[in-house]
Amino acid sequence: MKNKGGAAGDKPGFEDGEGSVVAEKLRKEFDGLVAVDDLDLSIRRGTLYGMIGPNGSGKTTTIKIMVGRLKPTGGRARVLGEDVPIVERVADIGYMPQEMAIYTELTVSENLQLFGELYSMKPGPRAEREEELLSMVDLRERRHSLVSQLSGGMKHRVSLACSMIHDPEVLFLDEPTVGVDPELRVGFWQHFTDLKARGKTVIITTHYMDEAVRCDVVGMMRQGRLIAEGKPKELMERTSTSNLEDAFMEFSWRDAA
């Protein structure tokens, strides 16, 4: 196990001063269609970072490049001081894709076990961690249910738990709160805030602009570019708006102009 929950800065090849997640002129084209357009991004360690923007604004593509599932067409991306796709510290990142991407023909517990084993966790700590996460996603009673028998929201929660089983340094969550009821969503955000307090970096994409207010830093994306970035409060002040949704609309108009 590489991740000890300690400071990421101890690891070779990673300066704490540099962001945990960095993009320089990052570009991704699909058959001539530009999905990510010379994106510059720097997310510091211990940040709860929200990426907001409409469908097709490049959020998911950016994350897929960061976790090594897509090759950039141009530019550079670094995670934990390593060029993507990262190899050395791959066990220090966690990823929850937008699609369910868990084994529906296995039980909740078996899914968690599989991911734990892939991160070479020892049975003892893995079982402890499983308990912790099952409580967090409120699925303790359903641990022996096949995932295929769960509701959509529950499946999403299993998927979230799987991405966190190994307590990663950097967590990429692509729309983690879709289909999660409001009460539980509050619990999730509390958990993300706790992670941040422990020095973890959490990058979340979301459609729900209201919940992005809870992020330390929000990056607004449009057409593969970052059109605005800052603390939620600042963003609202800069646009003289009272919520992030209006702020986003204002930045979009300015960008289009």
Partner: protein, 386 residues
């Protein structure tokens, strides 16, 4: 490559099968069903084939060669003599009557003994060893040969009976004899020949099918992509699957072996472990093949379309039911490219001939090469996906 991660992938693959009760049933009962059906169908011999006899031969004195032959035919069990027509009545009408039954599909053959049959036989017997003074006794068989197996059986039965009667009634020994000494396959029956084939076929079918469908599923649901963001490597995923599906093939082979021995007394002269090793390697290779083809299928439905493409050449050309010597020259080179050929050959040699590892090393080496190449190509194709 880390063993714990390979095992994690293998365990998850087996577990997901285990939760699907119907699939478990399919995996166990499909081979059982296959061997039972094939065993009972091919294991039995032909019986009660309907024939009509037209005996135009009145005999000579009290002797009648035709009657002796007809009596033997009726007693054999292979043929069922529905009716003996003649020798009274108009010969042409009698033949017509019997032919009508064959044409109507009520009988497979009309066996006609010509009018002077016994007289011709007696003269030929008297002529034995000197210059013939006439024609030999003649039997004409009007056959419905639309089923070649039945046609063949009727011809064999009549010929064997005729030979028997010549020896028993006329005490004429043939001047030459051919005798058989079995080097391998003493007491071997047809089922002993094809049980190893069915075993290989079942293992290959199922590993290929499970592999191609699992991977199409993994790709379409995004789990494969997700796995690859963890420390698990492409090679470990492929190895984990090969291990799991190889085991599935193995379990099936055990089911088939046990059934074949219990129901049909199939012989296993050599080591059962060697047979299972051959099947495991075959299964691992087919897992790789299924994986490779899965990248060309967009969904499960398209995946299933690959099955006949792979299965038919294997069933027909790999020597499962008939030897590859029976495959036409044009297609025979293809047989040597079908991995199942080597598995069937290997299992057969171990089970019937009792050969050991030293004798089937070539077949095992071919299968191992197939497996290694398939698994490496699978790994490579996964790496390319990034």
């Amino acid at each position: 490559m880390k063993a714990t991660r390979v095992l994690a992938v293998a365990r998850k693959t087996l577990r997901s099968l285990k939760h699907d009760k119907r699939t478990v049933g399919f995996l166990v009962f499909m081979p059982l069903f296959m061997i039972a059906i094939f065993g009972y169908t091919f294991g039995g011999s032909l019986e009660d084939v309907s024939v009509y006899v037209v005996n135009l031969d009145p005999g000579v004195g009290n002797a009648s060669a035709s009657e002796a032959i007809v009596a033997e035919l009726a007693a054999s069990g292979v043929l069922r003599v529905e009716q003996v027509i003649g020798p009274e009545g108009d010969p042409a009408r009698s033949v017509e009557q019997a032919l009508a039954e064959v044409e109507a599909g009520n009988a497979w053959a009309a066996i006609v003994f010509e009018e002077n049959f016994t007289a011709d036989v007696l003269r030929s017997v008297a002529d034995a060893g000197s210059v013939p003074t006439g024609v030999p006794g003649a039997i004409t068989i009007h056959l419905d040969a639309s089923n070649p197996n039945i046609a063949q059986a009727i011809m064999n039965e009549v010929q064997l009976t005729v030979q028997g009667v010549i020896v028993s009634e006329y005490h004429l020994l043939p001047p030459m004899t051919v005798s058989e000494v079995r080097v391998y396959g003493e007491d071997a029956e047809f089922i002993d020949f094809f049980a190893p084939g069915v075993m290989g076929l079942a293992a290959m079918m199922v590993t290929f099918m499970l592999s191609i469908i699992s991977f199409v599923h993994e790709r379409s649901t995004g789990t494969l992509d997700r796995l690859l963001t963890t420390p698990v490597t492409e090679g470990e995923i492929v190895a984990g699957y090969a291990l799991a599906l190889g085991l599935v093939g193995l379990i099936q082979s055990i089911v088939i072996l046990v059934t074949a021995v219990a129901l049909f007394q199939v012989q296993i002269e050599g080591s059962p472990m060697l047979v299972l090793l051959i099947i495991f390697v075959l299964g691992a290779g087919n897992q790789g093949l299924g994986f490779l083809l899965s990248s060309n299928a967009k969904n499960e439905f398209q995946a299933v379309q690959f099955m006949p493409m792979i299965l038919f050449p294997s069933i027909l050309l790999a020597g499962v039911f008939w030897p590859i010597e029976a495959v036409p020259d044009l297609l025979r080179p293809v047989s040597y490219f079908v991995p199942l050929t080597y598995a069937v050959e290997g299992c057969r040699s171990v089970m019937i001939r009792g050969w050991g590892l030293g004798d089937v090393w070539f077949q095992l080496a071919v299968l191992a090469t197939f497996a290694v190449v398939m698994l490496l190509l699978s790994t490579y194709s996964l790496k390319k996906r990034r």
